[in-house]
Symmetry: C2
Subunit: 173 residues, 2 copies
DNA sequence: TGTATGAGTTGCGAAATGCAACGGAGGCCC
DNA sequence: GGGCCTCCGTTGCATTTCGCAACTCATACA
């Protein structure tokens, strides 16, 4: 798994957490396994039949996800043949990335409406599109964005932190 | 690229645009190339030196991205040796997915702050975390979400469309 | 005319992927 | 205990993809 990690931490003079994410999730089946996990799949045989993935690959991917702390592996007490794979907090926080990808596929693919759909538990309405937002929550389009080197950032009063409720805010950007 | 596509369109009785997205972007270097493109890289040699990717792979990835309509390839008029690769609208709309991934890596990785950073052009403040939102724009956490089969959805008045400004809204979810 | 440059290709070894068959611990039933 | 089934893997081998270095080839440039 060398190449990607080695080189990509010093891109363009800048560095980037993207290769880090890709090291964990960049392999062919990782996101599909994640999706299944989000849909309540917990056991090896379930993943295997659901995804039709080769058993050795599945085995490998699951251990890798466990190694990366994205899923937890637990031998079940009531039947010690069974192993339960469960998303961790870290894994759950991949949901926005996964949904963003899925929405993109839905928009630009052959018009396949995805199922099942994520809905707000409160009103059972489907969630909105995943977007980029300003520090105050305003939705921002691509043309309103700039890439800045970290050193050129200017503090703005006490940059207000976003509203409550979501996934814990990420460090900075 | 058989297996993934074939099988994954009929997962769990439901279907899903995720495999579609992964078919375009699921390969090892695709997201890194995309990131470079977002940072103003446009030419083969630039990508190659920036990413330290093997030339044949780069060549292959670029054509694939072009095939998928994510980048456009254009021989430059003023120097016909040069080819310019440019993100299309479709490619640009992968930005939320890429940023979500990057933020995740930043949060859970070894505390590497990514550079460059995306900022709001208006106030030059870094953008907020990518989150899931309800149809009205409220931020929603994982525990407030449900997976529903598309058939079980109940219409709600005239579901208000989100505020202006962002990337064009995705079909439904 | 000769040299350099940008954008690829080709050939080949190394690694990842996919398939089918096998192994082995744990439960279940008599 | 002995036979049988289930779940979670592993092993061996064919196929595909990846990575590296060297090579082509059409421009530009002097």
């Amino acid at each position: 798994m060398g190449k990607l990690r080695e080189v990509l931490n010093d891109m363009t003079g800048g560095n980037c957490a993207l290769p880090l994410a890709l090291e964990a999730m960049g392999e062919r089946w990782s996101f599909m396994i994640l999706r299944a996990a989000f849909n309540g799949v917990h056991h090896f045989e379930e993943f295997q039949q659901e995804l039709n993935i080769a058993r050795n690959i599945l085995s490998n991917r699951l251990s890798r996800l466990v190694d990366h702390g994205i899923m937890a592996r637990e031998v079940m007490a009531e039947d010690r043949r069974k192993v339960r794979y469960q998303l961790t907090e870290k894994g759950i926080e991949l949901l926005p990335a996964m949904i963003a990808l899925r929405q993109w596929g839905e928009k630009w693919g052959a018009g396949v409406p995805s199922t099942p759909v994520l809905v707000d538990a409160r009103d059972e309405q489907p969630i909105g599109p995943v977007t980029l937002t300003a520090h105050d929550g305003r939705v921002i389009g691509y043309k309103e964005l700039l890439w800045k080197h970290r050193s050129e950032l200017q503090p703005l009063g006490q940059a207000r932190v976003r509203a409550e409720g979501g996934l814990a805010p990420v460090a900075a950007e």
